[in-house]
Symmetry: C2
Subunit: 103 residues, 2 copies
C-alpha cells in the first residue's frame, strides 16, 4: 500500500479545526478516486504537554501511480486547495510505501 | 491501537543507516514488551527530489499504558539509547491513538 501522511501542526482553534475537518475536508477527501482506506488520529504526548503534531491523517492507495492520479484529479485539486481553509498553522506531508515488518 | 511513529531525518550515509537499523536497532526494538506489530517505510517524494523524512518506523501497542510500560522497561531504555548510534541527523516522535475512518 502507498500512503500519504499529513501531519497537521497544533491549530490556534482546535475546535474550529475539528469542526471543519469532520464536516468539510474529510467528506471531500473521502471522494478521492482510488482511496482504499484512511485513518485520522490525534497527536498525543506521554507527559501531558501539548503535542506539536495535532492530527495525523493517513490516506492509503494501492500504488504511487494511483495516489498521483488522485492528487492530480479535479477532486484532488479541490482537496489540496481546501487545506489552506483550516490548516492555518501549517502541515507537512510524508509519502511512503508501507512495509509491515515481521517480528 | 496505540502507535509510536518515528520520523527519521535524511541521514548523511543512508547505507550505513540501513545496515545499522536492520542488523542492530530493529532486532532490539522487536523485543520491546507488548509490541504487537511494526512497519518500516522509506520516505518518498512525487517529484523525485530527496525527501526530508528518510524513514518512518511505526510501532503498535494495544494501549498507551502498554507503550509507556515498553519504553520505560530495561529493553525500552536500551532501544531509546541506541537511536543516537545511527540517527545522527535527528528524528522526531509522534504518539497517536490510531482511528480508522469509514469511507
Amino acid at each position: 500500500m502507498y500512503r500519504l501522511t499529513v501531519l497537521y501542526n497544533q491549530p490556534t482553534d482546535p475546535a474550529a479545526f475539528d469542526e471543519y475537518y469532520a464536516n468539510t475536508h474529510m467528506p471531500l477527501a473521502a471522494k478521492l478516486p482510488g482511496l482504499r482506506s484512511a485513518a485520522v488520529s490525534k497527536g498525543d504526548t506521554l507527559d501531558g504537554s501539548t503535542p506539536d503534531v495535532y492530527q495525523v491523517s493517513e490516506l492509503y492507495f494501492d500504488s504511487k501511480t494511483d495516489l498521483v492520479a488522485a492528487l492530480t484529479s479535479e477532486q484532488g485539486q479541490a482537496v489540496s486547495a481546501d487545506v489552506a481553509n483550516f490548516a492555518t498553522t501549517g502541515a507537512s506531508m510524508v509519502f511512503t510505501e508501507v512495509t509491515e515488518v515481521s517480528l
